[in-house]
């Protein structure tokens, strides 16, 4: 932590404090930890919600995982197995099968964006891409809404592990994802300067910052100051301990899988424990235009099975699952038809997502697709609907409205409707 406060020689304490209060960067941590807040901290900790998104970059073939069509020409070679929930899933996810009482499958996802970039944007925000506006992503929205539950949080409220996630849009740079690798190591964290001097430098920096922001009157100039404050907080915070995934014992690491995604999920659990409201963990490589089933059986599904099951199990054991939403999804599913390269191509019309935890009912399979998987045969659900459901599960009010930069009101989750089977 920082060395104790001392007044620099030749300067009145009050004067220097003023600079720092202006910058807010240095003073905030000390000033906000007042008595009233500390007294409520325990109460808040008990009720605070979090969310972990498992992002399957490239578009996972959900027809081979969560909504199998054995025997159909589109079905592929995998067999379904029973689970602890009221559904069957793929035989290559045996450990996840034991956790399905905690998770539900939405089998009637039906979206329109089958391009990677557009699909990634749409599934992350609930809005289709629009060149004139940048919408905030899941992480930014959830972090923004849940921050009031953790005034003591000094580390970034939106962390993405092993990927880039999606940006904060009009909520501003202060809500952008903090990207780390699954090792949890953060570059350039080392402060090679004593805390006193750093604070004084921050004061000088703040003077330039605010001057420039006032002169240009342009948003990016002011946003930068908020990021500086968060950076300063993080550098000087003992809460950074949460990132030290290497402190977990070997057995635990092994249980999650000693690969990027496994360790990423373990890190996500530590961050939830450390109070971070939103974490995304990325597992890429699902863009399986070729040789889909062998790749799934050999690498992708065993990896996912280990990490996802360990994560859900750990959260439940620690009593965290009831307050932590899990969202498993990619940008779209893959074609029921198997192509000439034994692969599956992009497909958004009928596919599955998996959710659970927090206030979301587990053990269910919601919705149905046709016998060959090419069409949804029940009420279709969209990215907005899923997002609304997750928000409700996190006790975030769906009446929440954001004001975009051009003063257009934007409803949270783009006004999606809650999937009623999943949240009360």
């Amino acid at each position: 932590m920082i060395s104790p406060w001392k007044t620099p020689s030749g300067m009145s304490r009050r004067h220097f404090m003023n600079h720092l209060a202006g910058s807010s960067a240095a003073a905030s941590a000390a000033l906000t930890m007042g008595g009233a807040i500390a007294a409520n901290a325990e109460e808040m900790r008990r009720n605070r919600k979090s969310a972990i998104m498992l992002w399957m970059g490239g578009g996972p073939p959900t027809i081979d995982m969560w909504d199998l069509k054995p025997g159909a020409p589109t079905g592929g070679p995998f067999q379904p197995i029973s689970t602890t929930g009221d559904m069957q899933i793929c035989e290559h996810l045996p450990m996840v099968a034991k956790q399905m009482h905690n998770l539900s499958i939405v089998r009637s996802m039906s979206t329109r964006e089958a391009d990677h970039n557009r699909g990634r944007y749409y599934m992350h925000t609930g809005f289709v891409p629009n060149p004139n506006i940048e919408h905030p992503s899941y992480g930014a929205v959830v972090a923004h809404e849940l921050m009031s539950q953790r005034p003591e949080l000094e580390i970034p409220p939106f962390v993405t592990i092993g990927g880039a996630s999606a940006g904060p849009g009009f909520l501003g740079m202060a809500w952008s994802p903090f990207a780390v690798t699954s090792s949890g190591r953060i570059r350039n964290l080392d402060m090679k300067l004593d805390g006193m001097r750093l604070r004084q430098r921050m004061a000088a920096l703040q003077e330039i910052e605010s001057g420039f922001a006032n002169r240009t009157r342009d948003l990016p100039a002011g946003e930068h100051g908020k990021v500086l404050k968060k950076t300063f907080d993080l550098m000087t915070s003992s809460q950074m301990e949460a990132f030290r995934v290497e402190k977990e014992d070997e057995k635990t690491k092994e249980r999650y899988g000693t690969n990027g995604f496994g360790q990423g999920c373990l890190l996500a659990r530590r961050l939830v424990e450390g109070g971070v409201p939103f974490i995304e963990v990325d597992l890429g490589g699902w863009d399986l235009h070729n040789n889909v089933h062998q790749t799934l059986a050999d690498t992708k599904l065993p990896q996912l099975d280990k990490a996802m099951s360990a994560l859900v199990e750990d959260l439940e054991q620690r009593g965290l699952l009831q307050d932590t939403a899990i969202i498993w999804m990619g940008e779209f599913g893959r074609t029921p038809r198997i192509n000439q390269n034994a692969g599956r191509d992009h497909w958004a019309r009928s596919w599955s997502c998996v959710v659970g935890g927090a206030g979301i009912q587990g053990g269910l399979a919601v919705g149905e697709t046709s016998s060959d998987g090419t069409a949804v045969e029940s009420e279709p659900f969209s990215s907005e609907d899923l997002m609304a459901t997750v928000c409700k599960g996190l006790s975030i009010s769906l009446d929440t409205t954001f004001m975009s930069k051009n003063r257009r009101p934007m409803k949270i989750a783009n006004g999606g409707k809650v999937i009623s089977e999943l949240v009360a």
């Binding site: 970059g57 557009r118 506006i133 080392d190 000088a204 990016p220």
Partner: protein
């Protein structure tokens, strides 16, 4: 706080301001040039005159009519929207801006002084001319633009992975050579699209241009080659149409596979280190193509529609021009034909203009810039077309284009959002009206070069060593999305990792070093007084003098450091390098 500040005075300050780099009034343009532009337009012989004037321009300091054309069109937009533009940026800020945009780094103190000392007319034009044509900047110019184009052509991650066939050094070498000799834009595009040869410098048959396509042809039927060429050079986004008709432009699935057919003779071959299975380099070749039905005289490709039906495609250019159906290279080299057809396409010119305009003015005429067509109306359609024609008329001279852009009125404006142009805020979704200079982050590459320059320039080591260091540094900001299309993002976006890097990273450590011979060490031995040196510091980093409050704060730091001036300078320099004002192009 104000009052407290005023009561402090830095002890060693002299009573008078130092006139190191004074501010000058900028005289923008003689009325004559406006007259000329109207004249040329009314005569209708626009193109011929423009070519004539372009060549005259440098010799006689006549403002090229292309600049007047930009100014007229943009000013008309202001009038239509009833907005008043920001005032002119002051000379020092403009100088910093143009250094960053043309050679990719901020100017040194000496370079700022050289600019300020030029008291003749046309100072700005002379600076642009120096940056573009003076030998001492050739290398930096070429390196900056090679970097920008490498990122466009092969992504920030291209050639970074050992398994990748792309050779980043080869790509950079080709582009550096091209920009150093000011190769015309059309020629560069033609070479990139048609190149054959080896990827690696020094390998037999080396041709660095092949690195653009070498990683895009072997997999997935060269889908990536087709979508990259059409997006980057023609401004046509076709990647969705490989699987279905485009929902909102006129590209159909058929068109995609016709365009894709141009790349089907192309293969990337691995060449191994003798006696091993280690890939040494790759070679891009054109081979006879039998087509998917096995008949080289009728080399067709199949594609499947969403309804499961199979269709056939042959090479057909976007405008409907067909070429021979033969797959024999001796009959027809499909990429040569494609290159030729692209050279005749207006889309080539318009995309180039849109790209360069957005690089210098902050936003393009369309958003996104590389998705052009009837479905996406440009903000200034006439200007886009006129500039496209002018660019073609200048034989695609990139340096001429840069001259027009940097000496235009919209480029000269201050980066201030005022009450009279409040609506001109593209960051909130308004269409850009270019009534101010749009504030933007430096690119990672610009920041790197600026920090190296700020540490006193004189980077050590060979080009290769410097480039290796730079690449390692840049790599930390690249994130890939794990898709076949190699999509990637940068975390160099003004968020925390970037702030941490600037707070504590090695580059900042070096830039703020006080070791003998360092920038701060040399600075502390120059100038007449502490105030003088403080001014130099602000000038070096921010191209301006410190404000009163900043001087007062420096005084406080001076005392906090126990009167050790170099430590105060170090603190201030650290603050400058970390500030929004430093890391933004403004």
């Amino acid at each position: 706080m104000d009052r407290a500040n005023r009561t402090h005075r830095i002890d060693p300050l002299p009573g008078h301001p130092i006139r190191l780099l004074e501010q000058f009034r900028f005289q923008y343009m003689a009325p004559k040039s406006i007259f000329l532009s109207r004249l040329t337009r009314s005569l209708g012989g626009l193109m011929i005159l423009m070519i004539a004037f372009a060549s005259l321009a440098r010799a006689q300091s006549v403002v090229p009519p292309q600049i007047a054309m930009i100014n007229d069109a943009i000013e008309q937009g202001w009038a239509d929207y009833e907005i008043t533009p920001a005032k002119e940026a002051d000379d020092a800020v403009w100088c910093r801006r143009v250094f960053l945009d043309i050679i990719g780094r901020i100017p040194s103190l000496e370079e700022q002084q050289e600019f300020a000392a030029d008291r003749g007319g046309n100072r700005r034009a002379k600076l642009v001319d120096r940056l573009l044509h003076d030998d001492r900047y050739t290398e930096e110019y070429a390196n900056h633009w090679a970097t920008v184009w490498s990122n466009l052509l092969i992504g920030r991650g291209g050639g970074m992975d050992r398994r990748d066939l792309t050779n980043r050094d080869g790509m950079m070498k080709y582009l550096r050579d091209s920009f150093a000799e000011n190769k015309s834009y059309d020629r560069m595009v033609y070479e990139l699209v048609t190149a054959e040869g080896a990827t690696k410098p020094g390998a037999p048959g080396f041709n660095g241009a092949v690195n653009f396509l070498v990683g895009k042809v072997n997999e997935e039927k060269a889908v990536l080659a087709a979508s990259s060429v059409s997006r980057i050079f023609l401004g046509q986004q076709v990647q969705c149409t490989q699987c279905h008709n485009h929902p909102f432009n006129d590209w159909k699935q058929q068109k995609f596979w016709e365009f894709n057919s141009f790349f089907r003779q192309t293969r990337a071959l691995r060449r191994f280190v003798d006696g091993t299975r280690d890939v040494d380099y790759a070679e891009l070749v054109s081979e006879d193509y039998a087509g998917e039905a096995g008949d080289p005289n009728d080399a067709l490709v199949f594609y499947e529609m969403r309804n499961g039906l199979t269709r056939v495609a042959y090479p057909v250019f976007t405008d409907g021009t067909e070429i021979s159906k033969s797959g024999y290279v001796d009959d027809v080299n499909r990429r040569h034909e494609l290159g030729r057809l692209m050279m005749d396409s207006q889309s080539l010119d318009r995309m180039a203009i849109n790209r360069y305009w957005s690089m210098f003015l902050g936003y393009g005429f369309t958003k996104p810039i590389d998705d052009m067509g009837p479905h996406n109306n440009p903000t200034h359609p006439q200007l886009l077309d006129d500039l496209a024609n002018a660019f073609r008329g200048s034989s695609y001279n990139v340096k001429d284009l840069i001259t027009w852009l940097t000496l235009s009125r919209p480029y000269s404006l201050a980066a201030v959002l005022g009450s009279n142009n409040q609506i001109d805020d593209p960051s909130i979704g308004e269409t850009p009206k270019f009534s101010r200079f749009y504030l933007r982050q430096m690119s990672a590459e610009q920041l790197y070069q600026s920090l190296v320059s700020a540490s006193g320039g004189n980077a050590t080591g060979t080009y290769e060593q410097q480039e290796k260091k730079r690449r390692e540094w840049l790599r930390q900001f690249v994130v890939t999305f794990g898709t076949d299309e190699g999509d990637e993002a940068t975390t160099f976006d003004g968020s925390i990792p970037q702030a941490l890097m600037l707070f504590n990273g090695e580059l900042t450590q070096n830039a703020t070093s006080t070791k003998p011979g360092s920038f701060l060490d040399r600075l502390s031995q120059s100038g007449k007084s502490t105030r003088d040196r403080l001014n130099l510091l602000y000038k070096a980093g921010l191209s301006r003098q410190p404000t009163k409050r900043e001087v007062a704060l420096a005084g406080e730091l001076y005392r906090a450091r126990g009167g050790k001036e170099i430590e105060m300078l170090q603190d201030v320099w650290w603050a400058i390098l970390n500030s929004n004002e430093f890391i933004m192009q403004h």
